[in-house]
Amino acid sequence: MHPRAGASLSRRRFLALSTAGATVGAAALSGCALEVSTGVGGGSGETVTMMVKADDITPELVQQAQKDTGITIERVDYDITKLIAMLTAGNPPDLVRGVGATDGAYFAARDVMQDLDPYFAKSDVLRLDDLDPVNDLWRYDGRSQGKGPRYGMAKDFSQDSMFWYNTTVFDDRDVPYPAETEPITFEEWIDNAKRLVRRSQGQTLVFGGSYSGLTRTTLLATMTASAGGSLFNDDFSKVDFTTPEARKALAWYIDYCKLKVGPSLIQPDPNGWDGPTFQAGRMAMSNSGYWLGGMINTDPKLAKVARLAPAPVFAGGARISACQGGTGLWMPRKAKNKDAAWRIFEWYFGEAPAKSRASGGWGIPTLKSLRELMPAQEDYQRRALQVQENELKHFSVVAFTPYATADAIDALFSRAAPAAMNGQMSVDTLAKNLNTVINDQLKRGKEQVG
């Protein structure tokens, strides 16, 4: 029987309506009191869109996420142009891949990132006291990187100025191995590279070494810091390559390219990165951090001859060993499924995938509690770990500008620098040219950010 309008309320109907009202009220109140989920268990049954590279989330991990959290991950290939289109359309992914060192401040300054502090505050998986300092690359206070709210987190990290070397190539050329506890100087690195390079009929059979950083911009900013200076001014709105410290860094890098001891813009490596060339024994030194151990550990033959060395220093300069990457995830401010996204965020950085990454050797875990999982079963793993642990004492953050992407500055560098690399332009002229074009870009960026 259906109740008619105006009919008196039956007891059963009164109870049903009261229950519904209480449920809605409780939900509304809990919504007021708790804007973010408590973490574990949130978002089950929902779908989270992640814009990442294929290696970041394998199909097996997607299945595992479904099993562990009840959340379906929909992976979208990372593509900056697509990301910008999605952000512009107000329909961004729920989680996005990013490089903490260079993307963090850039996107935060443009107000497209979600402040994750309330989520971290309530999380039992990602505790603030367990976070490695490298995660500060994902903090931005509106002026500088490293302070203020957290906008993302690194999945693992390395000190990207370190380098691996191949003992077989050193033995072949009778060059002494670099020390594993004390850094060599940049000048010694170049001297070694010159002795190690092997050429024939205009072809480079073995590269003496590769040293180009994660990006040219982060490399030069870090090297300038090693020389005792700063590439950026105080408010990160300008670069100055003409200061003695920045010029020293620039001159060293141009010299490295000009000598053609390793891959560069004027002598590209067709592999696009050092891994395959180093693995093939065609590169004596590779400027890669601890993370390259992930690849080295899978090749026992290579593992026996590959050793990790500290980041070089300038003679008499400070020992600076920065992370130039800190790749991880961030959540767009307009993400649709924030609670479910946070649950995946917790799972990705603090649960099964994080443990798997830590034990694989593809970088240092970003939770202190996962350090004990770093691979140390074999001699070569223990040796690399010891060098890395010693290097961590010299870890520092070299802050990056929020007014331009590393890609933008790299593109400008790539246009201006080859003339100097080919010896058609002096380093001083290049420094002035770089100041002009890069500062124009930073000026435009500052106007955009407001």
Partner: protein, 332 residues
């Protein structure tokens, strides 16, 4: 049943309700014309809608962007009027890139047309396994450009490429093919490698040349070269004009240098050698490496206008030498 009878059946009222209505008198020709118009619009509407949504609307949006400082995500972008256009007029990098694109077009278009036509003449002859040769020569044209780029990068790599392998085998020094100044030659080679496209179109044109004209020339004692020059080429001239125009447009818009670049990041794609830093690489760099959507849109609009002008000039200067079997201006 005669035509008149069919017409009277068609005009008969379908029901008693129709019978009571009075219809305005219609001219028989007008209804047919209206139906034809309607059919024309119905059949062309998918293309027209696509053209409006996917060509005109984006072009309009790009035009609007070209008057702004929009960078994709920043909140404080501004309307700058003709500021971007004024900037590009004084931007030497832009004009150098345009010059390189023009030079590339001037070199690659005639070479690829000559190569394509030459191949077409060869595979038009009655030779054995002609179909196999046609297929083999056309194959490179169907290889995706990304695949072609990777193949060329590997073949011309300084240290491990086959090209230098051959040079060093014969005692020569290796060449840095993918760096300045040789990179431009590799770029032209990638275009010539895919000349099969032009070959197919030229082949179709060759097969359309009336055989009796060749026979008449032969009877008159004309040599093969004279026949080719005085009969084949004039009759192929509309095809050659088409290839010149589309080739010119494609070559100034080429992104092939990017596929030969050492890195695949947005900034990496622009790390092409200076000699291959053409206009579209500059545009890509402004859009996706520097995030200058406004300026890049202005660059594209300028290119669009320049292509229109160049196309008009090609038509103007070739009007006296292109021979049409059918007058293209004739009324149907």
């Amino acid at each position: 049943m005669s035509v008149d009878q069919i017409s009277s059946v068609a005009d008969r009222p379908r029901s008693s309700a129709d019978a009571g209505r009075t219809r305005p008198a219609r001219r028989p020709g007008a209804s047919m014309t209206a139906r034809r118009h309607r059919a024309f619009y119905v059949f062309t509407s998918p293309w027209i809608i696509g053209f409006l949504l996917l060509t005109i609307a984006p072009m309009g949006y790009a035009l609007w962007l070209s008057f702004t400082t929009f960078d994709g995500i920043s909140p404080n972008w501004h309307y700058v009027g003709l500021g971007n256009y004024r900037e590009l007029m004084n931007d030497s990098v832009t004009w150098d890139a345009l010059g390189r694109a023009g030079l590339f077009a001037v070199i690659s278009v005639p070479l690829s047309i000559i190569a394509g036509l030459g191949l077409a003449v060869l595979v038009n002859r009655p030779i054995r396994a002609r179909g196999v040769f046609r297929t083999l020569l056309y194959l490179p044209a169907v290889v995706p450009p990304v695949g072609a780029g990777i193949a060329f990068k590997n073949v011309f790599d300084q240290n491990s490429g086959a090209a230098n392998g051959a040079l060093t085998f014969f005692g020569f020094d290796a060449v840095g093919w993918l760096a300045d100044p040789y990179a431009r030659y590799v770029l032209v080679m990638t275009v010539l490698w895919a000349a099969g496209n032009i070959m197919i179109i030229s082949l179709a044109g060759l097969q359309d040349v009336p055989r009796e004209l060749h026979e008449a020339a032969r009877i008159d004692g004309a040599s093969a070269w004279r026949t080719f020059r005085s009969i084949t080429v004039p009759l192929l001239s509309p095809v050659l004009l088409f290839q010149t125009v589309t080739g010119m447009i494609a070559s100034v818009q080429t992104i092939m240098p990017m596929l030969l670049a050492p890195l695949s990041t947005p900034a990496g794609l622009t790390t092409v050698p200076q000699s291959n830093y053409t206009y579209m690489i500059h545009v890509f760099s402004q859009y996706f490496a520097l995030g200058r959507y406004g300026y890049a849109s202005a660059l594209l609009w300028v290119l669009f206008v320049l292509i229109l002008i160049a196309t008009g000039l090609i038509f103007k200067f070739t009007s006296g030498v292109v021979f049409y079997n059918v007058d293209p201006e004739a009324k149907k």
